[in-house]
Symmetry: C2
Subunit: 131 residues, 2 copies
DNA sequence: ACAATATCGCAACAATGTTGCATTAAATGA
DNA sequence: TCATTTAATGCAACATTGTTGCGATATTGT
């Protein structure tokens, strides 16, 4: 008995926002963007659904905040172990290219997922602080 | 005008708990362990202080929960970019040896810190589930 | 169009983290 | 040792973030 998912306005709008964003966005980002478009709870539920459908993916930021992205560059090497960059100033979360990593686990360990994030200051914020 | 920190009972007790734990612990773990020993708020403030003093360090777990550890093996190579391993079963958080990583940031970016965590199942849990 | 039911909005709740302020207790020097 | 200074605590109140139940609504297959 498979549960069918429906394409609702909320889902479409949220996915559009995530797809059009250059960085991973949090629940709060979405809420601010959508305004009164839909309820706070709906956003939680849509995000859950979209994640299950694998239309987006979850990234835990270095401050513990969960972000969502449909990061096409991520998708391209989703099975690989690539690194995310998190700006401590503007909170931008992006994918770092050219950082494919080979991880070696000790004998007997089972690998599930890699969470690789570097924190720092992105170019935009560096430039802005120098002005 | 440097601010002096004091060694209080709460701080001592919390640090003792973290040091004696084999895994990284959350605020909730500490609260459960200490019971009525001190206030919830005090734990938050002590953790903040201990982190500033670098007596412990913060690790964001793969589920977004912030954990604290005094991981001695971490301390040894704290300046390097080494990888943590987080067991999804027993929650054990340990350091992975032989995984020194070279990270390359885009031009103009400033590096601050690397958060590298691999989730999976540790040997102990793998063995146990096979029995 | 109609029925089935996935999804929504709302309210209420739970968990987690923060702030202000009066009180307590470390650390220091007399 | 004792008084003084002020860091740290406890408490209350608040803020933020995430969850759950349920009646109402809207999407989808027929």
């Amino acid at each position: 008995m498979k549960k069918n998912t429906r394409n609702t306005k909320a889902k479409a709008e949220i996915l559009k926002f995530i797809n059009s964003s250059t960085r991973a966005v949090s629940h709060l980002d979405i809420q601010k963007s959508l305004g009164e478009f839909c309820d706070r709870v709906t956003i939680y539920r849509v995000l859950e659904r979209l994640t299950e459908e694998k239309s987006i993916h979850r990234i835990v930021n270095v401050d513990g905040v969960i972000n969502y992205a449909s990061c096409s560059s991520c998708a391209a090497h989703h099975t690989h172990n690539h690194v995310h960059f998190s700006c401590i100033n503007c909170k931008e979360l992006s994918c770092l290219e050219n950082n494919e990593i080979t991880l070696t686990l000790p004998e007997g360990y089972q690998f599930k997922e890699a969470f690789l994030t570097v924190s720092g200051v992105c170019k935009e914020c560096v430039d802005r602080s120098l002005v």
